[in-house]
């Protein structure tokens, strides 16, 4: 049943606050990752990979626009998708900490992408059956794109991991660097629990189990070792970020901050 069709649903303030935060987390993760991938344009190892990364970036920024547009409506404070993207500061961004990590070398980018693609497969897959029709529509559309993003990233993971001694070592090192940020992906907090109890979002512990299985199978195929789990949880989705997000936003928001309201 549609959330819009239930007259009582929108008057529950805790549910509505949680819904807004949940949508912003998805939107910001796509936006920040899309911005990161955009940094590769003109610098990727080969022309095909340059185009591939730019295509992924475009899809992610497109998904972010759909989600931010919805968040702006839920918020109801007169801000639009552009105001949310360009005029919020780092602590107001609710993206996964993993998404903001620097591009590093090609192996770092591939590992980051593959971890998030596999996460999006679970999250969008679950949201496609959401009781929130708007989220369900955005998720069903995004899932088609995430499927080929994952083909790209998991394909490269195999080639790099099962490639040369150098590519194997570098990819294993990327895993060691980035794995610490994965604890946040499927650790539910009160927002996730509220969304899942309302039939809006998938339950994270179950989704996390499927993600683990997929990740383990991909690592075996790539002849890579899964790092030990990291005890310290990061909290990007609560607005607590690494230093890297501020630098990314400084570049992304520069024009709107310098010339407020500038338009094409």
């Amino acid at each position: 049943m549609s959330a819009v069709a239930e007259p009582g649903a929108r008057s529950d303030p805790t549910l509505e606050t949680a819904r807004l935060r949940y949508v912003l987390r998805l939107a910001d993760t796509s936006l920040v990752l899309g911005q990161r991938l955009g940094e590769w344009v003109g610098h990727a190892p080969a022309l095909e990979e340059d185009l591939g990364l730019a295509n992924l970036a475009l899809d992610l920024i497109g998904q972010a626009r759909l989600l931010l547009g919805y968040a702006a409506e839920l918020e109801g404070r007169g801000r639009d998708e552009d105001a949310l993207a360009y005029l919020r500061d780092a602590p107001e961004f609710l993206n996964l900490t993993l998404a903001e990590q620097p591009n590093g070398d090609f192996a770092d980018t591939v590992v980051r992408q593959w971890l998030i693609d596999a996460w999006q497969l679970e999250i969008y897959g679950g949201l496609a059956g959401s009781s929130d029709e708007r989220l369900a529509a955005i998720a069903a559309k995004s899932l088609k794109e995430t499927s080929y993003h994952y083909r790209f990233s998991s394909g490269w993971l195999t080639r790099l991991g099962d490639g040369t001694e150098e590519s194997h070592a570098r990819t294993q090192r990327s895993l060691a660097t980035l794995w610490r940020f994965t604890g946040e992906l499927f650790a539910p907090d009160e927002v996730d629990e509220r969304m899942s109890a309302a039939g809006i979002a998938p339950a994270l512990p179950e989704a996390g189990g499927r993600w683990q299985e997929r990740i383990a199978a991909d690592l075996r195929r790539a002849t890579l070792q899964c790092p030990a789990s990291h005890p310290y949880p990061w909290h990007g989705k609560r607005g607590v970020h690494t230093e890297h997000l501020g630098h990314l936003l400084a570049e992304m928001q520069h024009l709107q901050r310098t010339y407020p309201g500038a338009r094409w």
């Binding site: 095909e48 475009l58 069903a140 088609k144 790209f152």
Partner: protein, 166 residues
């Protein structure tokens, strides 16, 4: 059929005709109707016509250009009161490209996406739009626009675009 109903049916047909003449900005050989992104032209309760447009890929830069071009074509023909609406569900897939659209793509040198029926009966076959050979290989799943992949023909050795199947 009443005179009013008759007039609205004629208007809807005229709107379809106008949209059939709006080209896709990146593959101008296709109209937006061929591409399968015009979901409906229908009359709302207030009597206004509404056109439903769906995006191909979330991030396709052409989405805005298509909307503006459709608006301009309708305005120029005296249909300024026709409303354009964005439709997300069900999501667009390459199965929405019409048979006429597939033929135009092939004639233009872009291998069209295989129809759903063909995909369900065996592996994906992409024929070279120049020599017709099915001995082709994928160079990259990503090409010059979000909707295309980059292929190469092993027989005539020519590179070509394939309209991606999603």
């Amino acid at each position: 059929m009443s005179a009013v109903e008759e007039a609205s049916r004629t208007s809807a047909e005229r709107v379809w005709q106008l949209l059939e003449a709006v080209p896709d900005p990146e593959i101008p050989v296709l109209s937006i109707v061929d591409l399968g992104i015009v979901r409906y032209v229908q009359q709302a309760a207030d009597g206004r016509l509404r056109v439903g447009l769906t995006p191909t890929y979330s991030g396709c830069p052409a989405t805005l250009a298509i909307r503006s071009a459709a608006r301009a074509a309708l305005d120029a023909a005296g249909f300024a009161d026709v409303a354009l609406e964005e439709v997300l569900a069900p999501p667009w897939s390459s199965d929405w490209v019409t048979p006429a659209g597939r033929a135009k793509l092939a004639a233009f040198g872009i291998a069209p996406p295989p129809a759903r029926a063909a995909r369900e009966h065996g592996p994906l076959e992409v024929r070279c739009p120049r020599c017709g050979s099915s001995a082709t290989e994928r160079v990259s799943e990503f090409g010059s626009t979000p909707c295309k992949a980059h292929y190469r023909c092993s027989d005539c050795r020519e590179p070509f675009d394939h309209f991606k199947c999603i």
